[in-house]
């Protein structure tokens, strides 16, 4: 983060307030390149869109809890804690106090994440710039994308997104990124549709 070009206090504030690794990594090169505010925020928003699905999946389990509890659990949810929670749901091993249980998992995850982030932010100032450490940001995204390429529609979407983003790279305001993302999402959705028809319980247009 710091090697990407953020001053230390701002990098710390970002880690604490945004608390979304992939969105931060995606936004970082745009911030450094001086992209417009809306482009940066929109990019963060698209990378965060998967959480809309997660929160929809969590809702039935917390519907009887107060809104403040639901909001707090939502903010501190991550890919890992969501996956962990759903596994316990499947195993049927969830205790009655599932909000406290989930809060514990999330708190644990939050502490480890933030301690690692702070170590990195402060440690990075001691690493010489010539090491090209900013490339680790790109590699971290490679590591995030890799495991998601486990289904054919995802591969189709990623390839289309990459090609369109390359072709449209010279567009101003990093618009090539959006063209690529939208083309990729469209391609992946179509590929998913052709691969398997939608479940009969939810007919077309539902």
């Amino acid at each position: 983060m710091v090697k990407g070009g953020l001053a230390v206090p701002w990098a710390i504030a970002m880690s604490l307030l945004v608390y979304a690794g992939s969105a931060q990594l995606a936004a970082l090169p745009l911030i450094v390149a001086g992209a417009p505010l809306w482009v940066i925020v929109a990019t963060g928003l698209i990378t965060n869109l998967r959480f809309v699905i997660y929160s929809a999946a969590l809702r039935p389990h917390f519907a009887d809890r107060p809104a403040a509890v639901r909001a707090a659990l939502g903010f501190f949810m991550t890919d890992f804690t969501f996956t962990r929670f759903m596994r316990s749901v499947q195993e049927g091993s969830l205790p009655e106090q599932r909000d406290a249980w989930f809060a514990g998992v999330c708190a644990n995850n939050w502490i480890i994440w933030q301690v690692s982030a702070m170590t990195g932010i402060i440690g990075a100032s001691y690493v010489p710039i010539e090491w090209g450490l900013e490339f680790t940001g790109t590699l971290a995204l490679v590591a995030l994308v890799g495991p998601s390429l486990n289904a054919r529609p995802a591969v189709v979407g990623a390839v289309v997104a990459a090609i369109v983003a390359l072709l449209a790279f010279s567009l101003p305001f990093k618009l090539g990124l959006f063209c690529g993302a939208i083309a990729g999402i469209t391609a992946a959705t179509l590929a998913d549709h052709w691969q398997q028809p939608p479940p009969p319980a939810k007919p077309e247009g539902a």
Binding site: G74, G157, C179
Partner: protein, 113 residues
């Protein structure tokens, strides 16, 4: 490298990104029970992150020097580093190893190719 980015504009960006996290993560947890995700929408949302990230990293890796022309040769150190990281991922899901191996390949390619 230029001076580190800071200042009010960056503060606004951070608040905007924080809002994107809060809105997406709390959306359906706070919404009424009547609101439901359609199947098509759910499919599109599922693939949104992988497509966006691909659109970010592929130009970052393949355009060399950064942001200029397509370079698919071995003289593009980012391509070497990304391929090495990808190979490591196929072999093991360990992210730290993937970063270390990728950075090592990138550094060697940058210095010696």
């Amino acid at each position: 490298m230029t001076d580190p980015v800071s200042g009010i504009a960056l503060g606004v960006v951070i608040v905007g990104l924080a809002l994107s996290t809060i809105i997406t993560r709390t959306s359906f947890l706070l919404a009424g029970a009547k609101l439901r995700l359609g199947h098509r929408v759910e499919v599109a949302l599922r693939y949104a992150p992988v497509c966006t990230l691909a659109a970010i990293i592929v130009p970052d890796i393949l355009l060399h020097p950064p942001g200029t022309t397509l370079d698919l040769s071995v003289f593009n150190p980012r391509l070497i580093g990304a391929l090495a990281a990808g190979l490591w991922l196929c072999w093991s899901r360990n992210i730290v190893g993937c970063l270390g191996f990728g950075m090592a390949a990138y550094t060697l390619a940058r210095l010696y190719l």
